[in-house]
Symmetry: C2
Subunit: 706 residues, 2 copies
C-alpha cells in the first residue's frame, strides 16, 4: 500500500473517548458518519450515525463457536489502536480511473478473561459508511476453530422500506421485493420462485447487499467486502425488534466456517447517505478490499461481446448435440456415432455467422455455449464426471473457428459450465486452461448451475467461495479472465483479482425468456448486486416478443428497446454483452449503433438521478476519449428526467445522439417504439427526457470536431 | 480377455431348472459349490451350498433407493443368460505367476412391472466360492438414481465363529475379535479402541472381508471385489436371525451411492471351503476384477524398502521441523526463519545414513516421511491447505539426496500424507507427481489420516473411493506406483491397476509402538484383509522393547523376532518394508540375512498349514530363481508344524536355512531368542518346527549348486 497516512488519531482528535454512554467514538474524515463502540456487560457493541441521525442502533458483535466457548460475551477491552488513511489508487478497469480511499480506523482489542482468548474488531469509517471486521490474532487457545454462526447485529432504527431478495444458500436469482421490514415475513413465499438449486433458510432471511430507505430519507445499505475463505453472510431479521443478525451459509455438516488464526472475517459494511446517488457512487466495498495482487495486468482488458446463447435461452434450441443419449459417459460415448438433433447452435456455420456479425460491428469476443461434449445429461443428475471442458462436439471445429475469429479480429470466449460438479471442474481445470492457451481464448464464462458436488455443500459456503477464488487465481496464471455465473455474489474482490471481470449472481436478462423480470429490476441492481462488482447482466434485447423467433415461447421482455440501450450505462460492467440474435439487431441497426459506440471502460462516472426501485440515470466518460454516455432505466411508472450536462467540458461543443422511448412506448405493449434524435449540446445544456413505463434512454455525446 | 470359452450352459447341463423349490441352480465347474436363485413373492433370493452343505441360506437381494420406488420387490424373471469361462491370466506381480479364472455364470434378468424398470443379477460360481453383483442396464426410468442402502442378505446357517473388526466408515485399524456371531453385540465396545478418524455405526456392524468358521468345519468368507465408483460394503448382523445385511458407507448427506446406468455394483463374494488353506489360496477376488488396463506395465516393479519412519512411529521423533509454529500457512510461513527442533529425522545426514544401509543390504528404495513442509499443524485441525507436496523442509535437500540414493543404486520413495484434505491433494497432485518425475521417484506412499475434507464424507464412501482410484490412475500416467494408507480396504483392483502396489487398510506394525497388536493378528489378516490385495504391513521389527531406543515409550512388540521374518512370506505383498532402525538390524545381521534374501515376487505359492487366529505356514517360490521360502506366524499359543517339502523339485538337493524361535522364546518375555540352522533338504524332507507363543519361523531353501 502506498501513500499511507497514519496519525495518532487521539492526538488528531479523531478518536475521542467522551463521557457519554459510548466508550469509543470514531468519526469519518468529513465528520459525516460516526461510529460508536464499546463493551457493555462483556458484550461488544457498536452503533452508527449519519449527520447525527442514528443509522444502526446499539448492536452486539460476536461469533458462536462449535464445541468451545463462544466469542460473544465475557470480553474486556485491553487496548485500542487508531489511525487514518488516505490514498488514491488506480483500478485496472472501473467506473472511474482513480479512486480515493479515505477513512479513519479504530481497532478494539478484546480479551475474554475466562478463556484467555483475544479477538479484535477493526472499524473503518468513511464519509459514505462503515466497514468493520472480526480479527483473530494467532494464539494458542484459538489456532483453529469452527464457527457455529456469526452473531453480528444490525439494529434498525425503524420499519424501513427495503428492496430485498430471499436469503438462500444457493441462488440469488430472484426478483426483488419492495416492502417494509415488517412485511418481509408475509411476502417471503411470493418472493421465492423456482430455481435450479435453491435453499431458502428463514421466513425473514434476506440477502446482501440489502438496500433500505428510512422514512426520513436515509438510504442504508448492508453488505460485505472481501469475502475470502469464509462463508457468505445473509441477514435474518427479528421482525419484532427490527434487528438483523448475520446468518452465514453452512457447510455439509451444518457448520459455518473453519478458521485458522491469524484470520479475519470479511468486512461487514453499512453504507449510508441522504442522497441515493451517493450509494451508487460509493467505492466503499472496493476500498475495503486489498490492492491488486498481480504484477502484470496488461492482459486484463474489458470486453464487449456477443454470444451463441440467446438462441438457446430464448430460442428453444439446445446446448446438447443429440437426443440419442439418455446418459453420457465421457470416456465411452462416441458422438460421431449418434444422430445429431440438427438444431445445435454451436456448429461451425452458425458460429461463423456470429463471428462475421460480431466482427463487422466491432465486438471484442464471441461466447459460444454448447461447444463441448456432455450436455445431454448435464443437469439435475448429481453427475460427477459431467464435462471434460476440452472435447468439442463433432460439429464444432475449435481450431478452425478460433482461426476464423482471429482472422476477423475477434476472439472466441470459452464456456465452462460445471453443472456444479466442482471436484470434476478442478480435476480438469488445468487442461481446460491449457486448451484455452492453445487456441488463444483469454476469457471464460464459467457456470455453477444445480446443486453442488461435493454434495451437501452450498453455492455460498466457505468451500465454494474458496473454489471460486481458486479458479480465478489459477486462471490468472494463464492470463485468463473469468466471468463466473451462479457463483457467490461479489464483494469487491475484483480490485484484488481484476481478472474476475464479471459475475452473474443475480437475476439477469435470461429470465426475460422464462420466469420474467420485474420492470423495476434494473433500478435496484446497481444499489444492491453491483455494489460488490460488475454483473454480466447481458442487456441489449431488441426483440421483446420471444415468439417472433420461437413460437413455443410466449415470454415477453419487460423492457423497452431504448431502456435496453440505457442499461449499457446504468449497469456498470467491464464485460458487456449484446445478447440478442444478429438477425434481431439487423432490423434495428440505427439503435444498434449505440451498442457499437458504448465503451466498456470509463474515466469518470456520475449518477445524475437515482431512486431505488424507480429510476437510475448515469453519465460516464469514456476512458479513452472525451465522449460521454448517458443511460436511464425506469420502473413500470416510467420516469421524466431533467438532466444538466454540466459534466461536459466547458466551452466545448458536442453532438448528442438521444435514443429514447417514443411517446407511445410501453414495455408491455409497445416496447420497440423509439426515437433517435441528434442534437448539439454543451455544458450548459439541459435535457428533458422521458422514459416510458419499463423504459429508459441512452445518449452518446461526442465532441464536435471542428 | 483371452481364451474365453463360452458355452450354452443349458446345453452343457450346467444350468438346470429342477422341479425343486429353486427355479435356478448353477454349479461350479468342479460341482463343489452350488448357487440357487429365484424370485419368490417378487423378491430375488439366492442361497449357496458347498459339497451339498448349506453355506448361505435363502437370502434376499435388492437395493433401496432415495425418492423413487425401491428395487427390492415386485420383480419377475424375464430372462436368464448362462455361460462358462475358463482363462489363465498372468499377473504383473503376485503370489503366483499365472492364475486360472474358471467359473460358470448366470444372469438373472429381472423386471419390476409396476415401474417398468430392469435390474439384472449376475452370479459367478467358482469351486472356491461365489461372486454376484447387481447390474442396472441403461434405461429411461433408471438413468440416474441414489441408493438409500443395499439390502443384500447373507443368511448364516448357524452361530459361527467369526474373526471380525467393528464396522466403521473411517477406519479398519482395529484388532480382530474372535467370537460367535451371537456374541458380537456384547463384544463390540471392547472391539473398538481409539483412532484418528472413526465412525462405528452399529452394535452388530462388522467389516469385510469377514472370516467365519462353522461348527462342522466350513470356512466361509464374505467380502467384495472390484469396488469402483460405489460405496464400501459393511455387514450388519441381525443377531436374532443370524442374517447379515449389506450396509454401505454413506455420503455427507446420508446417501449411499449416486449411480448412473449402465452400472453395476461391486461383486459380493462368498468364499467357502472345508480347508482353511483354500481360503488363503483363493484367487476369487482377483478373478472377479477386470484385467489390467495398462498397455505397458514394464515400469511396475515389486519393491523391498526401508524407511525413515520407525524413528517417528516408535522412536518419538517428529515429522515436523519446529515447535515454533502453532499454525502454518504454506504460502506465508518461512521455515528458514524458525528454530528447528533439532530431532527431525528427515534430514540430509540421517537420510544419507539410511541410504547407505539400505543400499549396502540390497534394498530397492528408502521411504522418507516428514520431508515436506506443513507437519507442524497437519493433524486434527480440519485444515484445508495442509501440505503442498512439493516443498522440502530446509534440512532435506531433495536433489542431493535423490542423486546420492541413485549413486548407491536405490531410489527414494515419496511420501504424500494428505491429512485427508482431499481437495487439496487433488489440487496439488499433478505438481506433486511432476516433482517425483523430476527427481526420479517412482513410488509414493500416500496417507489419509484424520477426518475427510470435503467434510462429512467418509474414508470408505463413494466419493473417496473415486478419489483413491483417481490418484492411482493419474499416478500411472507418470509411471508411479501407489501405496495408499488409510484408504478403503482393497478389493482386488490391483489386478486392473497393478501400480496400486500396496495398501494399509488394517492394523499394521505401527500399532506395536502404541495401542498394541494381538499376537494372533497376523494369523487372521491373510484370511481377511489380504483377500483384496497386498498390505504394507511393514514387518521386520527386531528390537521388541521400544524403550531400548525410546525411553519414553514402554511399548513392546507382540512378536518374536523369528516370526517377524516369517511375515515376509506369510503376508504376501509385492511391497515389503524392513521397518526397524538400521542400528537394530546391525545387532542381528545373521537374522537380517533372511530379509535381504527374501524376494517380493513369486512364481508359486502354497499354503502348508492354516487356521485363522491360530497359525499360517506358507511356502513360496521366487519368481526369478528356484529358491523357495517358507514362513510361519502363530498366535499366543505358538504352533508346531510338521511340513513336507514335497513342493521342491524331485531329485534336487537344497540347502535350507531355518530361522526359528529358540526353545525358550516367547513374545512376551524373550522375543529375540532365535536360532539359525542350516540343513540339506530335498523333496522328500519333512521338517518339524515349533513357533513359540507369538512366534513363527522363516526358511530359505536354495538349490545346492553342485
Amino acid at each position: 500500500m502506498k501513500n499511507i497516512v497514519i496519525k495518532n488519531l487521539m492526538v488528531a482528535g479523531l478518536l475521542t473517548i467522551p463521557a457519554t454512554m459510548w466508550a469509543y467514538t470514531l468519526e469519518s474524515p468529513g465528520k459525516i458518519v460516526s461510529l460508536e463502540a464499546d463493551v457493555k456487560d462483556g458484550i461488544p457493541v457498536y452503533s452508527i450515525s449519519y449527520k447525527n441521525k442514528p443509522v444502526i442502533k446499539s448492536s452486539s458483535l460476536g461469533v458462536k463457536l462449535v464445541e468451545v466457548p463462544d466469542l460473544t460475551d465475557g470480553f474486556e477491552v485491553v487496548g485500542t489502536q487508531a489511525s487514518s488513511f488516505d490514498e488514491t489508487w488506480t483500478p485496472v478497469w472501473g467506473e472511474n480511473d482513480s479512486i480515493r480511499n479515505h477513512y479513519n480506523e479504530m481497532v478494539l482489542e478484546l480479551r475474554q478473561p475466562s478463556t484467555d482468548r483475544k479477538m479484535n474488531i477493526r472499524f473503518r469509517v468513511y464519509d459514505d459508511g462503515v466497514g468493520f471486521r472480526y480479527e483473530w490474532p494467532q494464539q494458542r487457545g484459538l489456532d483453529y476453530f469452527v464457527i457455529d454462526d456469526e452473531m453480528t447485529e444490525f439494529a434498525m432504527t425503524g420499519d424501513h422500506t427495503a428492496w430485498w431478495i430471499a436469503g438462500d444458500y444457493d441462488t440469488q436469482e430472484y426478483n426483488y421485493t419492495e416492502s417494509r421490514l415488517s412485511e418481509i415475513r408475509d411476502k417471503m413465499s411470493s418472493a421465492i420462485d423456482g430455481n435450479a438449486s435453491q435453499t431458502p433458510f428463514s421466513p425473514t432471511g434476506v440477502q446482501t447487499s440489502l438496500q433500505m430507505k428510512t422514512d426520513d430519507g436515509l438510504y442504508i445499505n448492508i453488505h460485505e467486502a472481501a469475502l475470502v475463505d469464509y462463508s457468505c453472510m445473509h441477514l435474518n431479521l427479528n421482525d419484532t425488534t427490527l434487528v438483523f443478525r448475520s446468518w452465514l451459509t453452512p457447510d455439509a455438516q451444518g457448520h459455518k466456517g473453519h478458521i485458522q488464526s491469524p484470520a479475519h472475517s470479511p468486512w461487514r459494511t453499512v453504507m449510508v447517505s441522504d442522497d441515493a446517488r451517493d450509494i451508487l457512487a460509493s467505492n466503499l466495498i472496493l476500498n475495503l478490499n486489498e490492492p491488486c495482487v498481480y504484477e502484470d495486468v496488461s492482459w486484463i482488458k474489458p470486453v464487449k461481446y456477443m454470444g451463441v446463447w440467446w438462441e438457446m435461452i430464448a430460442g428453444g434450441k439446445q446446448w446438447s448435440y443429440t437426443y440419442d443419449l439418455p446418459s453420457v459417459r465421457l470416456d465411452e460415448t462416441d458422438y460421431t456415432k449418434v444422430h445429431p438433433l440438427g438444431q445445435h447452435p454451436a456448429n461451425n456455420e452458425n458460429v461463423k455467422r456470429y463471428i462475421d456479425f460480431a466482427a463487422e460491428n466491432g465486438f471484442d469476443q464471441l461466447l459460444v455455449e454448447g461447444w463441448n461434449v456432455g450436455w445431454e445429461d448435464w443437469f439435475g443428475k448429481s453427475k460427477d464426471y459431467v464435462f471434460d471442458f476440452v472435447t468439442p462436439y463433432p460439429d464444432f471445429d475449435i481450431e478452425m473457428l478460433n482461426n476464423y475469429a482471429k482472422s476477423k479480429g475477434i476472439k472466441l470466449m470459452m464456456h465452462h459450465e460445471t453443472s456444479s460438479s466442482v471436484r470434476n471442474y478442478e480435476r480438469h481445470m488445468h487442461q481446460a486452461y491449457d486448451l484455452m492457451d492453445k487456441y488463444g481464448y483469454n476469457a471464460v464464462k464459467s457456470g455453477y448451475v444445480g446443486n453442488i458436488i461435493p454434495r451437501g455443500e452450498h453455492h455460498y459456503g466457505q468451500w465454494m467461495n474458496n473454489h471460486y477464488l481458486y479458479a480465478v487465481k489459477e486462471a490468472a496464471k494463464h492470463k485468463i479472465m473469468v466471468n463466473a455465473h451462479e457463483a457467490v455474489r461479489p464483494t469487491g474482490l475484483c480490485r484484488t483479482y481484476p481478472n474476475l471481470i464479471g459475475n452473474e449472481s443475480a437475476r439477469g436478462t435470461e429470465y426475460e425468456a422464462n420466469a420474467g423480470i420485474n420492470p423495476g429490476h434494473t433500478t435496484i441492481l446497481p444499489f444492491t448486486r453491483l455494489q460488490g462488482g460488475p454483473m454480466d447482466y447481458t442487456p441489449g434485447i431488441f426483440e421483446m416478443n420471444i415468439s417472433t423467433f420461437n413460437p413455443n415461447n410466449p415470454a415477453k421482455v419487460n423492457s423497452t428497446l431504448a431502456r435496453q440501450l440505457g442499461l449499457y450505462v446504468t449497469m456498470y460492467s467491464p464485460l458487456q454483452m449484446a445478447a440478442d440474435l444478429p438477425e434481431n439487431y439487423a432490423r434495428y441497426m440505427d439503435a444498434f449503433q449505440f451498442i457499437k459506440d458504448v465503451p466498456v471502460d470509463w474515466q469518470k462516472s456520475i449518477y445524475l438521478e437515482a431512486e431505488p426501485g424507480r429510476y437510475i440515470v448515469a453519465a460516464r466518460k469514456d476512458k479513452n476519449s472525451n465522449d460521454w454516455f448517458v443511460g436511464c432505466t425506469a420502473n413500470e411508472d416510467g420516469h421524466t428526467s431533467t438532466i444538466s450536462l454540466g459534466f461536459l467540458d466547458k466551452g466545448k461543443d458536442y453532438e448528442a445522439v438521444i435514443y429514447a422511448d417514443a411517446k407511445d412506448a410501453h414495455f408491455r405493449n409497445n416496447p420497440q417504439a423509439y426515437s433517435i434524435v441528434r442534437k448539439k449540446v454543451n455544458s450548459k445544456s439541459k435535457l428533458r427526457l422521458t422514459a416510458a413505463p419499463g423504459g429508459g434512454y441512452a445518449i452518446s455525446i461526442k465532441p464536435v470536431n471542428l
